[in-house]
């Protein structure tokens, strides 16, 4: 496994273990998506506001804010802030809040999220503003598949195609699980691709753990004339055998022994 992704996964597990709380499943499922975005697709200077090119940065919104551990560890491994700070995650007075917050000035955090179903509408606002400002930056949003059940997501999807926001690209982390079980049992999304297309979006389905497929999809997305959705098929808990595809690991911290076993697997 790619060492960047492996480091991110190890950090996610250590952070959640240290906080005795957090969301391993949905964090581990989006590691490759974030990795490709931050390493290959987006322009985002780790110097953040200190960069002279700050305004040109591509915007990233983690709409599924509970995957904060994945975003924080990706950012730290890219040098946005000190790696040590990761282990203040979810503790009193930390800049690494349980769900991303812009209040504490953490480098790399574009908007505050955590209440599901709001990130895409915020992204539409940002995309509109970028167009008004003749700024060619793109807006990337990561959504959970369960999150797609929120009606507001579909309001935003409609707005984006209505406004022809070709600067907006979303990724749906299609790990097929939410909290109460399989997304298709709780409230089915299918046929997801056809629904998105019917809402005026171009759509592509990829293996969300295959970096080449992801990178290719982003390249296609960037040159699309309409808003673009990537359905990334993933495994919740990817990389740790006992967490994979196991709904019980949505929002639970590994204990000492589980952390040890998980890290051993990632070392192998």
């Amino acid at each position: 496994m790619n060492s960047f992704n492996n480091n991110v996964r190890r950090d996610i597990l250590k952070m959640i273990h240290g906080a005795k709380s957090g969301h391993p499943g949905g964090s581990l499922s989006c590691v490759e998506i974030l990795s490709v975005l931050y390493n290959k697709v987006m322009f985002v200077p780790p110097e953040w506001k200190k960069s002279p090119d700050f305004q040109k940065r591509d915007r990233f919104i983690l709409s599924k804010g509970h995957a904060s551990a994945a975003l924080y560890s990706t950012l730290a491994n890219k040098g946005f802030f000190a790696h040590d700070e990761l282990f203040t995650f979810r503790k009193l007075a930390s800049r690494l809040q349980g769900h991303p917050s812009t209040r504490l000035g953490l480098e790399g955090i574009e908007v505050s999220t955590g209440s599901l179903g709001q990130g895409l509408s915020i992204a539409v606002g940002i995309a509109l503003a970028l167009k008004l400002n003749a700024n060619s930056a793109k807006v990337f949003v990561l959504l959970g598949d369960g999150e797609m059940q929120e009606g507001s997501v579909w309001e935003a999807l409609m707005s984006a195609s209505h406004k022809k926001l070709d600067n907006l690209i979303i990724v749906i982390d299609r790990n097929k699980l939410q909290i109460d079980g399989d997304t298709d049992d709780v409230k089915s999304l299918e046929p997801l691709d056809k629904k998105l297309q019917a809402f005026g979006w171009e759509c592509m389905e990829v293996d969300g753990h295959n970096e080449d497929e992801l990178e290719n999809a982003f390249n296609v997305a960037k040159s699309s004339g309409v808003p673009f959705a990537i359905i990334a098929n993933t495994l919740k808990g990817k990389g740790v055998s006992f967490m994979e595809n196991n709904v019980g690991w949505h929002g639970k911290a590994p204990n000492d022994d589980e952390l040890k076993r998980a890290l051993e697997e990632l070392n192998a």
Binding site: L92, A93, Q97, G98, S101, S115, G151, D180
Partner: protein
């Protein structure tokens, strides 16, 4: 009325268990949840009555109005999710589709207050009582422990009309004896008599206040503790006024913003009937943050020790 030995029990379990009892007794009871059925414990009802359980998925607003529809056809829906999403997310739905038509919907929200813990501000409902209290025709209840939750949930099923019940995430000391305590929506529960100061509280902070009153006693301060589970309609007003008459000093304590909740309800009643100095303790005008439950309670001055410290300092200065 009060328990001698304090067992720690989960108020959320009390909710789930009571739903099953209610469901067995009345076929019109239906339950809705939005992908948090294990957290809210509505999963207990789902197991026994799957055909009367509806999971809306992560779609709280949809769920709230679906409950309105079920109620319009004579069902008695219990709707659950976290207090943040039940109230803030669905305020318009609750106001316009449930309370305005005065439909028989019971909103039972868990994870109220800062004790949501590590999830942080986005999940900590510090304003839910304030939102709910400002809507006409809804009854707002903040029960304090396992035994009281059971009675309050049954009471909600018995009365007609919208009800909001806020339940803590935390497992709490059981204060009330299940055989001797009888929930009365019209009264304040006098936990202990006192003469120097009246402390009014409810919900999760009751057990902290009880311990605090003991600490104050050791310092020579005699506190009268009132538990007021029903914040609206505020029928316990006369009990609060009577106690304030005696002590001349009132302090409110709640795991909620000092704006719009129990503290405000007490101030509204006293200012009209018996102008009295009131110190409101709760979260100040601020958002919450991530942290371990107990350290957050301490940070916001809501543990027994912090309450005792702050209250005695306040009384000294007076």
């Amino acid at each position: 009325m009060l328990k001698k030995t304090l067992e720690i029990k989960s108020p959320r379990n009390a909710y789930g268990e009571t739903l099953v009892e209610l469901g067995a007794a009345n076929k019109n009871i239906v339950v809705l949840d939005a992908d948090l059925s294990c957290s809210t414990q509505t999963c207990k009802f789902q197991k026994v009555f799957p055909e009367r359980f509806f999971n809306s998925g992560i779609a709280e607003q949809d769920m709230m109005c679906t409950a309105a529809g079920l109620a319009a056809e004579g069902k008695i829906p219990f709707v659950s999710t976290f207090a943040m999403f039940a109230t803030a997310r669905c305020l318009d739905q609750i106001r316009n589709s449930i309370c305005y038509p005065r439909l028989n919907v019971k909103i039972v929200a868990t994870h109220g207050g800062v004790t949501v813990g590590e999830d942080g501000a986005s999940h900590q409902a510090l304003e839910d009582i304030s939102y709910m209290r400002s809507i006409p025709d809804i009854c707002v209840i903040v029960p304090a422990d396992y035994n009281e939750v059971k009675q309050v949930v049954k009471y909600a099923a018995e009365i007609y009309g919208p009800v909001y019940i806020r339940i803590a995430r935390t497992s709490l000391k059981s204060v009330f004896d299940e055989d001797k305590y009888i929930f009365n929506p019209e009264r304040a529960v006098k936990i202990c008599e006192g003469s120097d100061v009246t402390i009014v509280t409810n919900g999760e902070t009751l057990c902290e206040v009880i311990a605090c009153a003991q600490m104050l006693k050791d310092k020579g301060i005699s506190a009268e503790v009132l538990h007021v589970p029903v914040v609206k309609p505020f029928l316990a007003a006369s009990d609060v006024i009577e106690s304030a008459k005696k002590t001349g000093m009132v302090i409110t304590v709640e795991n909620h913003s000092i704006i719009g909740g129990l503290g405000s309800a007490v101030c509204e009643v006293l200012s009209q009937n018996l102008p009295t100095r009131v110190l409101r303790i709760g979260t100040p005008d601020c958002f919450g943050q991530s942290g371990e439950q107990r350290s957050l309670l301490e940070f916001y001055g809501l543990t027994d020790k912090k309450l005792c410290e702050n209250i005695s300092r306040y009384l000294e200065k007076r």
